[in-house]
Subunit: 280 residues, 2 copies
């Protein structure tokens, strides 16, 4: 079974089963998903999530997925191994590992993932959300990446895959005037128009520029750990995304993301621990 | 090497190496750590964290630790297996698994853990915290567990291990008047006076009553996943703890915890995904 290729994202997470290796797959990390010299961590999490979704019949959706980033991924072939830990009635839990072969021909692990899968379509029960979606100007009044500093685009090929419109109130950093509030927010959709689904939300959780830009700290911020909780299946259309941090200390910071769909539903919450950019 | 027994907590996480099994340990889950019929998830995470801290010389502290809860733990023997995934300069990553033997003599996995360890004592760099510690009345003006409803204490032996003083403003639920803000906060220390350290913070991240009590939903809330980020080593003394939720939907809710030490430092941030209590 090979995944149908519908969009750049589906191509980015496509997997070919390895002959003779149940639960093992080959993939290809496209150069178009690079950022700051490596492959975007959200895309890697979506690759792992895709492999795990194939292990759990009846439980297609990552309810909770945690990735620990071990070394910087490079464009090129990637192998994915999975292990089913437990199959339950409403949740199944498994682990996945992404590896690449280095210049010396050695296998190097890039990412280890633990996740519980379920069926968001079967989710029942009341919705009690005290979180509020970000108030954003309409997309056409937000800042597209065509206005981004060239040195940002240069290091972030993946931005060309996105139709990302940032709230003007949170892009002062692009003009050398960061708000220092620790918040970046905006509208997100894929440039090729593919609609959001749970696997895409894993990418979106790590899609905005590092929130440290807004603290006046340019430079890339490598992810140590990223956990995403999927809370509902998104409806088609734009997503609203907020990234924020409340504690940068000792060389690390947390980056929280909330993702809202066009119906106004909070569809994903995530938190990552990342290394603070080094002073220039 | 056997861990020195200093307090009930140290006894609760004590491990004996398994002969011939490197990285494998035997422990004992004490009946005193029960809550709602199982062993408290924070204590289990601390047991796993203890085992992993022994695998990573020079990296004693869990910088980020994620636990996926597979089945309800019972008082009695537990075995812990560990695997070192990667040893790095500033971080080492490993996995741990807690298992118990069921009535039929089968090994049943309770908890799978992924974690990156480092040295919080070596953490350098500025501290930029926009989060604010909770404003609490002094401990002697807060509500001790001696005032808790008997049916709560009955199901939560672990509360006797704690000196927990809840903010009167967030305990209306105990009188049938939940605030419905989704917030419970208070002071925490161990009843036997043992001072906090990083492993204890793993327990504290899951130590308060479920925040769903404050939404008017009594009943226990099984944890699906719990990730704790340790941000600094705590100084001796009281801890301030805030549990909050912003989204209960489709039968699940997230519970965020912040833990502050007596010096006013934010020492840990955690988030868990839990199942909402079923309507009575």
């Amino acid at each position: 079974m090979t995944t149908a290729i519908r969009s750049e994202f589906d191509q980015g997470i496509a997997l070919t089963p390895r002959p003779g290796g149940p639960g093992r797959y080959d993939g290809e990390l496209g150069a178009g998903w690079q950022i700051g010299g490596g492959i975007n961590g959200g895309l890697l999490l979506a690759v792992a999530g895709h492999a795990l979704s194939l292990q759990h019949p009846g439980h297609p959706d990552p309810m909770s997925i945690s990735g620990y980033y071990l070394s910087a991924s490079r464009p090129g072939p990637v192998t994915v191994g999975t292990e089913v830990i437990r199959g339950g009635r409403s949740l199944s839990t498994g682990t996945a590992s992404l590896s690449q072969t280095d210049e010396q021909g050695r296998s190097v692990e890039r990412l280890r993932v633990l996740a519980s899968f379920g069926d968001l379509g079967a989710a029942e029960g009341e919705v009690h959300t005290s979180a509020e979606p970000p108030r954003l100007p309409p997309p056409d009044q937000c800042i597209g990446m065509e206005h981004a500093p060239p040195q940002l685009i240069e290091q972030a090929a993946l931005l060309e895959r996105f139709d990302l419109r940032l709230d003007p109130a949170t892009v002062g950093w692009a003009l050398g005037q960061p708000s220092r509030n620790g918040r970046i927010q905006g509208w997100f959709r894929l440039a090729d128009g593919r609609d959001p689904d749970p696997l895409l939300l894993l990418l979106v959780a790590d899609a905005l520029p590092p929130v440290t830009f807004d603290l006046g700290m340019p430079g890339w911020a490598p992810t140590v750990e990223l956990t995403v909780h999927l809370r509902a299946r998104p409806v088609p259309g734009w997503l609203r995304v907020v990234h924020s941090t409340r504690n940068l200390a000792g060389g690390y910071f947390e980056e929280d993301a909330e993702i809202w769909d066009e119906s106004g539903r909070l569809v994903a919450q995530s938190r990552q621990l990342a290394r603070a950019p080094r002073p220039a």
